[in-house]
């Protein structure tokens, strides 16, 4: 498979022969072999530690920017013949390495497939894989509709990207994620054929295998999605945001559960732990509720919206929270696509995204807080209620990649994932970094998945080394035990270094960590001691410079 490519690319500086052939065969301007350009396609949103290059060769040998599905077919056929891996890429805004090559090859930058068309008759929008979600939402709005759901990264992410990562985002609580939205899609399979999966004009629930659902969340391992037809809903008569502050993470968690068990149906529910709010405070923002914040949006007929708003406000009070002013609620809603602005405090953001049972939200958040605290770095948690049963949590740590010790902080990301598994949850994605966890996640079903992959992609050219097969650039499988042990070790080293750094904290005490758990109580005691030592009570999450 990829052997031929990998051997040729070892000669640094000169492109492999196949890449020159590809350049000649394609229209001018569609293929880049420029080293400066190729170097920019070796990462996604996650900062790539230099050491990752020991195991992987993330720099592609060629980048292709197709503008039509036919050009995609042409390149796939070429790649099959040449035995070169293909890595489909949207806007590379994910953090699991799904669009990062394991060992060079061709990166397909699909942002050129960006056409968008709204069909009023079928109430659908058909968008190219590279269309930006914000543009799709804008056009739908101008035609009198709205998208039932879109990613929290909508201003920068693509339709194809969210399909391939099986996204759950804004609107998922009410309407479901991307899996509920896709009516049909066009996919170039690894044999070079362009096929339609699903039906454009009617719901695709039967009359054949549901291959469309197989592709959703497949992380580019089964084919290249070139276009998708998505369902729309009529634009609402009215919208109304609601924000609520809570004294601590416990009350916040109680509210989210009360809400999920009521008949109130917000469009979107997001929540923020006290540490995240204090990070916002460090940015100079006004944070009226430091103990925890829930931000919601209601939409629909105005009478229904008002009823739901009042009912949710009652639940807020019942859980011990306070309803914020509508002005603050609107500000909070306006920021819902900008939650990661806290990165400015880092300046490096290390994060994970996990799904956990909604009933265990408080418990998981407390565990994540303990992990962050053990590492002695600032961090926080941003969450959304993905459905009545499931919460999506984005725990993050703010580090500084310019410091040598930051390498060890990467283990922290793995700890978040492990915690979610222990609590009956799962990582939100697999990609490159979590592929080794697949045996734990699926046990026997993984063989069936590999059989599907083998059937559709016998030459294993479609995004190899991801999801179902964890491999290094040497084409050797990465054993789960080794990867897990490695991440645990570096995580342990980082936690030990945290003691050295003498972390001083004066964050307002979070009852998110006040569980009956003995360990949590110990953390509280330690924090109280730290508070006594802290010279500047105004400083939040202050990390002293390494000696």
């Amino acid at each position: 498979m990829a052997d031929r490519a990998s051997k040729e690319t070892t000669r640094r500086g000169s492109p492999p022969k196949w890449a020159r052939q590809l350049e000649r065969r394609m229209d001018s301007g569609l293929v880049s072999l420029d080293p400066a350009e190729l170097g920019l396609y070796d990462r996604d949103a996650a900062p790539l530690p230099a050491s990752a290059k020991w195991a992987f060769n993330p720099r592609p040998d060629a980048v292709v920017r197709p503008r039509t599905a036919d050009q995609v077919r042409k390149v796939v056929r070429f790649a099959v013949k040449a035995g070169v891996p293909i890595v489909p890429r949207g806007a590379a805004t994910w953090g699991f390495g799904g669009a990062v090559p394991v060992n060079g090859g061709i990166v397909f930058d699909l942002q050129g497939l960006s056409g968008i068309q709204v069909d009023r008759d079928t109430m659908t929008v058909t968008a190219g894989a590279g269309a930006i979600w914000r543009d799709v939402a804008d056009l739908a709005h101008r035609r009198g509709f709205m998208l039932p759901a879109y990613p929290t990264s909508a201003p920068g992410s693509t339709v194809g990207g969210w399909i391939n990562t099986g996204g759950m985002g804004v609107g998922a609580f009410k309407y479901g994620g991307i899996d509920k939205q896709v009516r049909s899609m066009r996919v170039v399979l690894p044999n070079g054929e362009l096929v339609r999966l699903g039906f454009d004009r009617v719901i695709p629930n039967s009359s054949g295998y549901d291959l469309k659902s197989l592709v959703i969340g497949s992380e580019g391992t089964l084919g290249v999605v070139t276009e998708a037809t998505l369902e729309l809903v009529p634009a609402p008569e009215s919208t109304r945001p609601l924000a609520a502050g809570f004294p601590s993470g416990k009350e916040l968690g109680d509210f989210v559960q009360l809400l999920a068990r009521s008949r109130v149906l917000p469009f979107h529910v997001s929540f923020y732990d006290p540490a995240h709010l204090s990070n916002l405070e460090r940015l100079g923002e006004v944070v009226p509720y430091g103990g925890g914040l829930v931000s919601m949006m209601f939409e629909g007929y105005s009478s229904v919206v008002d009823w739901e708003w009042e009912a949710a406000a009652e639940l807020v009070k019942k859980a011990g929270g306070e309803v914020a002013t509508e002005e603050y609620a609107m500000t909070s809603w306006d920021d819902h696509l900008f939650d990661l602005r806290v990165a400015r405090n880092g300046p490096t953001l290390l994060m994970n995204e996990v799904f956990v049972p909604l009933s265990r939200t408080t418990e998981v958040m407390a565990g994540m807080t303990r992990i962050i605290e053990a590492h002695g770095v600032p961090g926080g948690i941003v969450g959304t209620a993905a459905s009545r049963s499931t919460a999506s949590l984005m725990p993050y740590a703010l580090v500084d990649e310019r410091k040598w010790s930051t390498f060890f902080a990467y283990g922290l990301v793995d700890e978040f994932a492990q915690l979610s598994l222990d609590m009956g949850g799962r990582p939100a994605g697999v990609g490159l970094w979590m592929a080794y966890q697949m045996p734990d996640l699926h046990s026997g079903a993984l063989d069936a998945m590999r059989a599907v992959k083998q059937a559709l992609d016998p030459k294993n050219i479609m995004n190899p080394g991801k999801l179902v097969h964890a491999v290094s650039k040497f084409d050797l499988a990465i054993p789960a035990g080794v990867m897990s042990m490695g991440t645990k070790t570096i995580s342990m080293v980082h936690a030990l270094l945290a003691d050295e750094r003498k972390v001083k904290r004066s964050t307002p005490t979070s009852t998110a960590t006040k569980t009956s758990n003995d360990e949590a109580e110990m953390v509280e005691e330690e924090r109280a001691e730290d508070l006594e030592d802290a010279p500047d009570p105004g400083a939040v999450n202050k990390v002293e410079k390494e000696g």
């Binding site: 880049s32 400066a36 170097g39 806007a91 930058d109 990264s153 201003p155 990165a343 310019r402």
Partner: protein, 433 residues
């Protein structure tokens, strides 16, 4: 040291760079060698989270597509350059970076949409100054523009003696309360806008003066291209001539000029000493005080288009809307407006070096206007008027693009003054910005 110079350059280095005629040295493996030390990789740039918000909004990144044209891509390339630079060897700047830095209309949308609040535009402009000082920039296609600024004091390669042809027959004095700074574009490309501006200002009771053939370029073109020497030369000239006129206020109808006066001049230490108003702000004040007598509101529906340098850069959003709404039957906003307004594609030297990109970017605004159901788009920037007009013509879209002053002029029932009006000069496409 001018504050426009990069913080990473010592005064000695800056002086040496300015004095030396730096001839770019081609690197063996492509690109050019920059001997001048790059400015430091700013702390805030480390916070880039690769979210693509800027790139999805950047008009040129959308046109070009490749990562090297995106702000996030350029940030990464610049970081590598800073790390690779050595005192005696310099650093090889890849062509992809040079091209990428000049593939920017300086619309500032990236800075507004940035997830982590990075003022990307300021960095891009700083990199342009560094490239110019190292002899690695601007682009070859900009050379004619640079020569034109030096020889003709305008970017259009038009003779200095023609500068004030627009004012023939108007009997404009060179002393007065209000100095009307016509700017290069209205002087040479849109003379009718300049004449109507004077007519309206007079109708509002102002004592209008102008600089005549001596009016130099404001320097915004040079400044946005990173050409410190030519900019400072023009700015010095402008400041001296403004003092000569001795007016109380400067009014200009060009956001390029007004934003240069308000943003770049103070940064570089040039003080005009009197307030600067964009024409739309003056009209808004006149409207509020009841001086604008609208005789007949123009029939039909008109859309307002926010020029980047008037809106996002100078924060003037509502005044032109109030004026337009008072002069027409119906004013509509485009779907993308105010801080979210789409760029016309003309700024930052893009139209000079990459004319096709500029027209294509303008086409997005044309589509937006047609989608809003209007046939006339009103703006208050000569660059926008020219480029969106070009895009409309290229698409045969039939969209008319006019300056706000045309609408005000007609709504006030002022007479068209054709006598002595010079023939409208066609904009030399590759030279306009």
């Amino acid at each position: 040291m001018s504050s426009l110079q990069s913080a990473g350059t010592t005064p000695k280095e800056a002086k040496a760079a300015k004095e030396a005629t730096v001839s770019p040295r081609k690197a063996a493996d492509g690109g050019k060698v920059a001997m001048v030390r790059p400015p430091p990789f700013a702390d805030e740039l480390w916070a880039c989270i690769h979210c693509n918000y800027c790139s999805a909004e950047c008009p040129t990144a959308r046109e070009v597509g490749w990562e090297s044209a995106t702000p996030r891509g350029k940030i990464r390339m610049f970081k590598d350059l800073v790390e690779a630079w050595r005192p005696k060897r310099g650093v090889t700047v890849p062509d992809a970076f040079i091209r990428g830095v000049y593939e920017c209309t300086s619309c500032g949308r990236c800075s507004v949409v940035c997830h982590v609040d990075i003022d990307y535009l300021a960095h891009n402009e700083e990199w342009r100054r560094w490239l110019a000082r190292s002899g690695c920039g601007p682009m070859k296609d900009h050379e004619v523009l640079v020569r034109s600024l030096a020889n003709y004091r305008n970017p259009y390669m038009s003779p200095r003696r023609d500068r004030a042809r627009w004012a023939e027959g108007l009997d404009l004095p060179t002393k007065g309360d209000i100095l009307y700074f016509a700017g290069c574009s209205d002087s040479y490309v849109h003379p009718d806008v300049a004449r109507r501006t004077v007519a309206v200002l007079r109708a509002l009771g102002h004592d209008v003066a102008y600089m005549g053939v001596d009016e130099p370029c404001c320097g915004s073109t040079a400044c946005r291209l990173g050409l410190e020497g030519p900019f400072e030369d023009l700015a010095r000239d402008v400041v001296a001539r403004v003092r000569e006129v001795g007016a109380g206020t400067i009014v200009t109808a060009c956001p390029g000029c007004s934003s240069a006066f308000r943003e770049y001049y103070p940064k570089a230490g040039y003080d005009l000493g009197i307030p600067v108003l964009h024409l739309t702000e003056l009209l808004d004040k006149a409207l509020a005080s009841g001086k604008v007598e609208v005789k007949d509101r123009l029939p039909g529906s008109y859309a307002w288009y926010d020029p980047c340098h008037l809106g996002r850069i100078d924060d003037v959003f509502e005044p032109p809307r109030r004026v337009l709404a008072a002069c027409v039957e119906e004013m509509v906003d485009l779907a993308r407006n105010r801080r979210e307004s789409l760029c016309c594609g003309s700024g930052g030297g893009l139209k000079t070096a990459f004319p096709d990109q500029a027209t294509s970017i303008g086409g997005r605004v044309v589509d937006l206007a047609l989608d809003a159901g209007v046939n006339t788009l009103v703006t208050a920037c000569p660059w926008c008027e020219t480029n969106i007009g070009d895009a409309s013509a290229a698409e045969n879209a039939g969209l008319e693009v006019v300056d706000l002053i045309d609408v005000v002029f007609r709504a006030m029932g002022l007479k068209t003054d054709t006598e002595g009006t010079p023939r409208r000069r066609k904009a030399p496409g590759r030279l306009s910005l």
